[in-house]
């Protein structure tokens, strides 16, 4: 069928496909077979390597000679000698194989050069295979003995397989022998002629292979172009054959992974920076109300937090996670929870504590049990209670005489309004209540004043909503915080359940219990908009890490936060309780999650009876 010179190809062009060519035509069961296949695969790998090396060399233009064996010596001259020897040996082997074949085969049925397996005649097939094996053995012996010499005459074998096998073996042996002979008296110079010849040979081989493939069955045109088959596919000779055409194209390596194979664009980094961005309006608002000083404190807190995280990770040689934005956000929130008149080192220490104690020792983002920013605040409140409870500044203090927008040094105690040291609305209210609780011995005007305070808070609701009031840096402007919150809701970064439950509980409870005239006399809006409730409910009680993951759990969490806040505001010693409420509820998160597991799909008692109706 294809009386070309396919053996030439063997020596020159495509050692890599040889080994793969014969596997499938043999029975799958015999151990022999398996061993042989394994051997072939190994050879294939070696051959591929050798081929790659040869190509690399060819590219440099120095040495276009094909390598037939991977076990090449590095000495170039030896190499050449060896290669020549190999080629000769291979030719010899092929010849021997052909001879053996001719002796044993009927020769009536020429198998296609490229695909012996296509034969459908069973008996012939068997005989042929037997002959092949024998031939291969003989050829190998002959080749090993021959080592050099032999002519260039192309063997006209119709038995690819045996020949190839023999060649491989012979080539290896010959190579060894050549290497042993290393002195190399027959140093072959690569003449142009020789190169030309080899090129022609390669071409002929390729054509032969194509022709054979075409004859092998009703070859479909598209088959010709099958490419880039991973080497392991070698089980089947046809695909392996195809590889011949494109042997230079490396096998395509596919990425393997568990499904799913696509991913939402969302990432932790994106979430954190988006949350941070939604706090920008509140920051600007705070700067307007409390002056440039507020902005500086926020910047100090944020940078201290990032620096702490970066430094710790540097120290412990861990991968830096500063870029994920969570440290920045923590520092920002620490500063948001400070009175605007605190000294510069307060936010720095608070942020440091938040990161170094409340976050990183637990394993960094995702592992901290409690909100780091609130821990930072709690630490500051316990350590510098005077700064944390007295450094309030009235809204627009910087417009007062002697100050300007950029004033840094300010003594909060020196700023008085109406003769009273200015505080937060909640603090004013708290002191009024304590005045009324224990009025004995107090002058009448103080008592009257306290009564007025308690009954007049309603007038100031608009100020509270806008944020033109005393309080922590970031907590005063409810409207700006809510704008950010709405955006977070829209993006799905927070669940409405937590803030809703939190705010509703505080509002209802404040209305029910917070009044001076008994039940239902409290001011609901005052309780909602005064203090840090909005900031806490929208930004801190929704912190993903420290709050429940179940929907029901988030409702419970919000209600719990609300109740604790109310207790502290109405009964406890502090005027404000949002931050402690959230911290305490953080600790219940695992428990809440455990008891609010959603009902799993299909776990219904009245499963179908009703539905079928």
């Amino acid at each position: 069928m294809s009386p070309f010179a396919p053996d030439e190809e063997k020596q020159n062009d495509a050692p890599d496909e040889r080994p793969e060519s014969d596997a499938p035509e043999t029975s799958a069961d015999s151990d022999d077979e398996k061993a042989r296949r394994k051997e072939e695969r190994k050879a294939a790998r070696e051959a591929a390597k050798a081929k790659a090396a040869a190509e690399a060399a060819a590219e440099k233009g120095k040495e276009p000679a094909p390598a037939a064996d991977a076990g090449a010596s590095s000495d170039e001259e030896d190499e050449k000698a060896r290669k020549k020897a190999e080629r000769k040996a291979a030719r010899e082997a092929a010849k021997a194989a052909a001879a053996a074949e001719a002796a044993e085969e009927k020769g009536e049925e020429p198998a296609p050069a490229a695909d012996a397996g296509a034969s459908s005649d069973e008996e012939d097939e068997k005989a042929r295979r037997k002959a092949e094996r024998k031939a291969a053995r003989e050829a190998a012996k002959a080749a090993a003995a021959a080592e050099a010499g032999g002519d260039d005459k192309p063997a006209e074998s119709d038995d690819e397989k045996a020949r190839r096998k023999a060649e491989r073996k012979a080539a290896r042996e010959a190579a060894k022998a050549a290497a042993a002979d290393a002195g190399g008296d027959d140093k072959p110079a690569e003449t142009d002629e020789e190169k030309e010849k080899r090129r022609a040979e390669r071409k002929a081989a390729r054509e032969a292979a194509k022709a054979a493939a075409a004859e092998g069955g009703d070859a479909k045109p598209e088959k010709k172009e099958r490419k880039e088959r991973p080497a392991k596919a070698a089980k089947d000779d046809k695909p392996a054959k195809k590889e011949k055409d494109t042997a230079a194209v490396p096998s395509r390596k596919f990425i393997l992974s568990s499904s799913p194979h696509i991913h939402d664009k969302e990432s932790v980094r994106r979430i954190m920076w988006t949350v941070t961005a939604t706090l920008v309006p509140a920051t600007i608002g705070a700067t307007w109300v409390f002056g440039f000083r507020a902005l500086m404190l926020v910047a100090l807190g944020a940078s201290a937090a990032m620096l702490t995280e970066w430094g710790l990770q540097k120290l412990f040689k861990a991968k830096s996670t500063v870029a994920d934005g969570s440290a920045f956000l923590t520092g920002l929130l620490v500063s948001f929870n400070l009175p605007p008149g605190v000294p510069w080192w307060i936010p720095v220490i608070g942020a440091f504590f938040a990161i170094a104690i409340a976050k990183m020792p637990f394993g960094g983002l995702g592992w901290n049990p409690m909100n780091p920013a609130l821990i930072g605040r709690a630490f500051l409140l316990a350590s510098w209670p005077l700064h944390m409870t007295k450094d309030w500044l009235p809204a627009f203090w910087w417009k007062m005489q002697g100050y300007n927008f950029f004033t840094w040094n300010v003594n909060p105690a020196a700023i008085k309004l109406d003769g009273v040291s200015y505080a937060t609305p909640l603090e004013v209210r708290k002191s009024a209540i304590s005045t009324l609780t224990n009025p004995e011995g107090l002058p009448n005007d103080v008592i009257t004043r306290a009564m007025e305070v308690l009954h007049s808070t309603g007038d100031k609701i608009l100020d509270l909503v806008i944020g033109v009031t005393g309080g922590c840096i970031g907590e005063t402007s409810a409207i700006l915080l809510l704008i950010g919150g709405v955006y977070l809701l829209y993006k799905g970064y927070i669940d409405w359940r937590t803030p809703f439950a939190f705010i509703a509980t505080v509002g209802l409870g404040g209305w029910l219990f917070g009044g001076a005239d008994g039940f239902f006399s409290g001011d609901m809006l005052f309780h909602i908009f005064a203090g840090g409730l909005i900031l806490g409910a929208v930004y801190m009680a929704t912190d993903m890490v420290t709050t429940p993951i179940t929907k029901k759990g988030r409702l419970i969490f919000g209600i719990g936060c609300g109740l604790i806040t109310l207790m502290i505001r109405l009964i406890g010693g502090y005027p404000e309780g949002v931050s402690y409420a959230i911290l305490l509820m953080n600790l219940t998160t695992p428990l809440i999650d455990r008891y609010t597991k959603p009902r799993r799909f299909g776990h219904i008692k009245v499963a179908t009876a009703e539905a079928r109706g």
């Binding site: 459908s120 598209e222 099958r226 991973p230 799913p260 995702g366 179940t550 799909f601 299909g602």
Partner: protein, 447 residues
């Protein structure tokens, strides 16, 4: 209110090939038919090397009740029966056939009274035709059609949701063979003796909806064709039942028949119809070849056993940056290491992703955002189960329902920390099942 299920997510659809008509793929030179292409017991090969086979001839006989035969997709000679690369993962005994000619579509003699075939005849023919669910899971169809008497079926649902992004083979089938789908569906309804027959399509395929509706109206006006809002995993059996009937299939090992439902993919319907009318075995199917890694995404009608290389060829070949080869859709498909594996009965698509898309972010710690909880269509706590599985706290994972995970991938898709939740859960699932098996054997030994 539109009918839907709870949970789920909505990945970008990427239905690149919705408008590409299906073309038959030329028959390859060598066909590789694995002996098992379905859930259940593998078939037993009944041919040997050198046997002549004609198209439609059984190559294996079924190895049990939950087992189906495989048939010769072409006429030719059995070249060998060898272990060969398989899309499911491991190598599998595979009948390699050298094609002589494509031998036609494998249809036998037409049964003129096909429409009056009795349920038993239908089941028999479906089983002999080797039909397995063609939506991807490949559960033997005749098993679904044989509900025990204790579990009466009242509703048949034909699944044309095709909720996986990219895939369009079912979409094309609904456009091109709507009447055959409806005929198959009616045979199913008759076989299980159900009253209601739903056909469900997602609303991103209005043309398929219209096509089915028209076909249904012309054949049987009692068929309800429903348009469901696009949401993944709408095409998952249990979620589809929940969306259409409000019933929830109890946790495994319960099956849809436990709530009186049978769900069949649209492709299976066509196969059932052809099996009953012409006794045609399942030897070809619609396959979508798509994704950013092929030059010309398309839909083809491919013989079972065709190596994927031919399909890639039909789609214009790989692009230079093709990096990931997936059998099935992007949410639940298997990544393959080689394109020499054959098309099998459950192959709805071949997806090739380019480098950019194939890279998935590095796994970071869970930040507890709870997104996985809200998308989980079986209401689990994926992040907790994954973490417990990672820690090999198997009992705890089992208690949280690790075995009930349907591996739809919604949680992993949505996770902002790029946690490979499904992978961890799969690991946990396998470990829990292994532990349970062990415990059972121990008990049996003791008894």
């Amino acid at each position: 209110m539109k009918k839907t299920f709870r949970g789920g997510t909505h990945p970008p659809e990427f239905k690149l090939t919705s408008g590409v008509a299906t073309t038959p793929l030329p028959v390859p030179e060598l066909i590789y038919v694995p002996i098992q292409q379905h859930i259940g017991a593998p078939g037993v090969p009944v041919v040997k090397k050198k046997d002549e086979v004609t198209v439609g001839q059984p190559l294996t006989q079924s190895g049990g009740f939950v087992s189906i035969p495989a048939h010769a997709p072409v006429s030719g000679v059995v070249k060998d029966v060898i272990p060969y690369a398989n899309p499911v993962g491991k190598e599998m005994m595979t009948v390699v056939i050298e094609t002589k000619d494509d031998g036609g579509d494998g249809k036998g003699e037409e049964d003129p009274n096909w429409a009056d075939a009795t349920p038993d005849v239908i089941r028999e023919r479906v089983k002999n035709a080797g039909i397995a669910g063609m939506g991807g899971a490949a559960f033997p169809t005749h098993v679904k059609l044989s509900p025990p008497e204790a579990k009466p079926i009242d509703t048949v649902i034909i699944n044309g949701a095709e909720c996986e992004p990219y895939l369009t083979s079912d979409h094309r089938l609904m456009l091109e063979r709507a009447e055959d789908i409806v005929r198959g569906a009616m045979l199913v309804r008759k076989t299980v003796n159900a009253k209601k027959l739903f056909m469900a399509v997602e609303d991103n395929k209005p043309d398929a909806f219209e096509s089915l509706k028209k076909a249904a109206a012309s054949l049987d006006s009692s068929i309800q064709v429903e348009m469901l809002p696009v949401k993944y995993p709408q095409g998952a059996e249990k979620q589809l039942i929940s969306a259409l009937t409000g019933r929830e299939v109890p946790p495994p090992p319960a099956l849809p028949m436990d709530v009186g439902c049978v769900v069949q993919n649209v492709g299976s319907c066509v196969a059932i119809y052809e099996a009953v009318r012409w006794q045609k075995p399942l030897i070809e199917r619609y396959v979508t070849i798509t994704g950013s890694g092929v030059k010309k995404p398309t839909n083809v009608l491919a013989k079972i056993g065709t190596p994927l290389t031919y399909l890639i060829e039909a789609a214009g070949g790989y692009t230079d940056d093709a990096a990931k080869l997936i059998m099935g859709g992007p949410m639940m498909g298997n990544a393959l290491w080689t394109d020499t594996v054959p098309v099998i009965k459950g192959t709805s698509g071949v997806l090739v992703l380019n480098k950019e898309q194939a890279i998935i972010g590095e796994e970071e710690p869970c930040i507890g955002c709870g997104r996985c909880v809200s998308v989980c269509p079986v209401f689990l706590l994926p992040t907790n189960i994954a973490r417990l599985s990672e820690l090999e706290r198997l009992e705890d994972a089992d208690e949280l329902g690790v075995l009930e995970c349907i591996e739809c991938g919604s949680c992993t898709y949505i996770c902002p920390a790029h946690r490979n939740l499904v992978q961890h859960i799969r690991f946990g699932k396998a470990a829990v099942m292994a532990a349970k098996r062990k415990a059972t054997t121990k008990k049996e030994k003791a008894a």
